[in-house]
């Protein structure tokens, strides 16, 4: 078990390093922050001075080493635009994003998994067909279309919900709904197929043959097996709690991480973008790690030493 955890943690660290390096290189190769920040008509010597003050005149690898060094000392840089610490700017936005993504995740879990499991246990029924149809609709409609449709219905036509902003909790309803629809569809379909697969296994027949009640066969024997593939998908969803709201935040003018990312990328605000990517990568890696550990807990075959 200790080995299992260590291997996973090492992998996580390597992943984060790779993301950091990649982001660093791509950002610096794809445009000059000085020109973007200062505008086109600025004299050359001002640009030179700007570059010098942000260290952009150094060779790339020296910049990279300096970046790594500051990261490891907990210094995430300063925003070129606001002159405030990047980490602080980013962390200020996190709660707003979580206000959307956490309720959306809860909705996905509470609706998607039961709908999928129910459909699997009532195959070919009316309910099953309904779940399949809605699930396909849910995850094929892009979220910007879904967002616009919801705005048209609830804001424009019915006039019951605001279409943008963050003033009251009512403002959060449409973006949260928009964000959950796709995930509900994905989870429903995934839970359904996982459950159908498990219900066809010989051990389920054994469980019935030994006289277990149907309910105990489903809860005690089928769900623990179906949980493994479902947890994978839920893991992805948890991993995108921070980054998953970019489109929806733009549609609904929600001041979260997604909007900050878009603004910072277009301004080439290097420190802020890097800081966001690091936090996004961090959440994904941590949730992957949690999923891996959860696998080991759910499925004894994955925790035995033979599987490494």
């Amino acid at each position: 078990m200790i080995r299992f955890v260590l291997v996973r943690v090492m992998r996580a660290v390597i992943t984060i390093l790779a993301v950091m390096t990649f982001a660093f290189v791509v950002l610096r190769m794809s445009g000059d922050p000085a020109e973007v920040m200062l505008g086109p008509d600025v004299p050359q010597n001002v640009i030179e001075a700007f570059r010098k003050s942000w260290g952009l005149d150094q060779p790339l690898w020296i910049q990279y080493l300096a970046y790594l060094k500051s990261i490891f000392t907990g210094d995430f840089g300063v925003s070129m635009r606001d002159k405030a610490p990047a980490l602080q700017l980013v962390l200020e936005r996190v709660p707003a994003t979580l206000q959307l993504t956490v309720p959306a995740l809860i909705l996905k879990l509470l609706i998607g998994i039961p709908a999928g499991v129910y459909a699997a246990l009532h195959r070919q029924s009316f309910a099953d067909r309904g779940v399949i149809l809605l699930a396909i609709l849910g995850f094929t409609i892009p979220s910007f279309v879904m967002g616009l449709v919801l705005v048209l219905i609830f804001s424009v036509t019915l006039g019951v919900l605001p279409s943008g902003g963050q003033e009251t909790w009512l403002h959060g309803i449409l973006p949260t709904l928009t964000m959950s629809v796709g995930g509900v569809g994905i989870l429903a379909r995934f839970s359904r197929s996982a459950m159908i697969e498990v219900m066809g296994q010989p051990y389920i027949r054994t469980a019935s043959a030994k006289g277990l009640k149907w309910r105990d066969v489903v809860w005690g024997h089928a769900l623990p097996n179906a949980a493994v593939p479902i947890v994978t998908i839920v893991g992805f969803m948890v991993g995108s709690l921070i980054a998953g709201a970019v489109v929806v935040e733009s549609i609904f003018s929600w001041p979260g991480i997604g909007r900050l990312l878009i603004v910072s990328v277009s301004n080439r605000d290097l420190a802020v973008v890097q800081c966001i990517l690091l936090i996004v990568a961090g959440t994904m890696v941590v949730s992957n790690l949690a999923v891996d550990l959860l696998y080991g807990w759910l499925d004894p075959r994955l925790r035995s030493p033979a599987s490494h």
């Binding site: 010989p202 054994t206 469980a207 043959a209 030994k210 006289g211 277990l212």
Partner: protein, 339 residues
């Protein structure tokens, strides 16, 4: 209670029919299992051996349509409510399956799976259940049971998994154990051990045993009476001695000719030509006709019924093989199989 029902059959199947999506695969099975007896059910793969008992216990998927009668000590099970079946399963009639490794739940510990059965049928919980589970594991020959109580399926070999399946089946102290090809997935030495275990346990517990196999040799070691099934029907039924000394249905004879000899001069096995027909395109008359060397035009008119014979066996064939005269018996199997 045992006195009043001592003479009656434990289980009686009458005209049991099963169809999947409109295709009939079981064409009216009549079968009795007496208390404490060991009954063999043989036939090639796809003849309906498993479906017969899955149907009897209500374990077939919803798309299967089951008609006929399944009586346990006179009580009708076919079409009875789920709660009735749940009490019968494991408690009165237990069943073990062909592939032991995938028949045990991979994410639940072995101990948990056995104690669960003890909780349902005998109300044992906690330490009492664990003690009894360890006794059962010991009884089926799992060494070092205490240490292995918390292990999982993948940590046991196929043969041990089948032993654990048997332990789980015994947990409910059933009156009848259905062993559906319990050794087919195992290699030869393990097969023999599992057969010995079943024979021993049957003697110790006095439960009845239905031993399903495509291997007549194995059946002869375990059972007193044999039913031969072909294409969803019973075609010959009799004591092991009767069928071994003088098989009368050409299909039974074909199964004997296909038994590998364990000793004596090596002779070539004679496999039955052709294959089991698809239930969708069953011949109009005797289903064995396309593969039978004795077939006549009459055989193709309607399926022969299973009729009682003078010597007590039952037979469904228009032109059966003549009864062998005593003393002139052609030995098709090693002596030791006949005991």
């Amino acid at each position: 209670m045992a006195m009043t029902v001592a003479t009656a059959n434990l289980v009686e199947l009458r005209n049991l029919k099963v169809a999947f999506d409109g295709v009939r695969v079981l064409h009216g099975i009549d079968l009795d299992v007496a208390r404490g007896e060991a009954l063999g059910l043989v036939g090639e793969s796809g003849c309906g051996k498993s479906v017969t008992w899955l149907a009897a216990l209500g374990l077939l998927p919803g798309k299967a349509s089951v008609t006929g009668s399944v009586r346990l000590e006179g009580r009708e099970l076919c079409g009875s409510p789920r709660s009735t079946l749940e009490q019968v399963r494991g408690g009165r009639i237990a069943m073990i399956f062909q592939d032991p490794s995938s028949s045990l739940n991979p994410v639940l510990s072995i101990g948990r799976q056995i104690t669960e059965a003890l909780a349902i049928h005998r109300g044992l919980r906690g330490e009492a259940a664990k003690t009894e589970a360890l006794r059962l594991m010991d009884m089926v020959g799992i060494p070092d049971a205490r240490r292995r109580f918390d292990l999982y399926t993948h940590e046991f070999s196929g043969g041990q998994c089948q032993r654990l399946m048997i332990a789980m089946a015994l947990a409910g102290e059933p009156d009848l154990l259905i062993a559906d090809e319990p050794t087919t997935a195992l290699d030869a030495t393990i097969q023999a051990q599992i057969l010995d275990l079943l024979i021993r346990l049957q003697a110790e517990t006095g439960m009845a045993l239905v031993f399903i196999s495509h291997d007549l040799g194995a059946v002869s070691q375990v059972c007193e009476r044999v039913c031969v099934m072909y294409a969803g029907r019973i075609v010959e039924e009799g004591s092991v001695a009767q069928l071994f000394s003088s098989p009368r249905h050409p299909y039974t004879r074909g199964l004997f000719d296909a038994i590998p000899r364990i000793e004596g001069p090596r002779k070539r096995l004679i496999p039955i030509p052709g294959t089991v027909p698809n239930p969708k395109t069953l011949p109009k008359g005797c289903a064995f006709a396309p593969r039978c060397s004795r077939t006549t035009a009459f055989c193709e008119t309607s399926p022969p019924s299973l009729l009682p014979q003078k010597d007590g066996r039952k037979l469904a064939c228009a032109h059966p093989i003549e009864l062998a005269v005593a003393g002139k018996t052609e030995r098709r199997v090693p002596e030791d199989l006949l005991q």
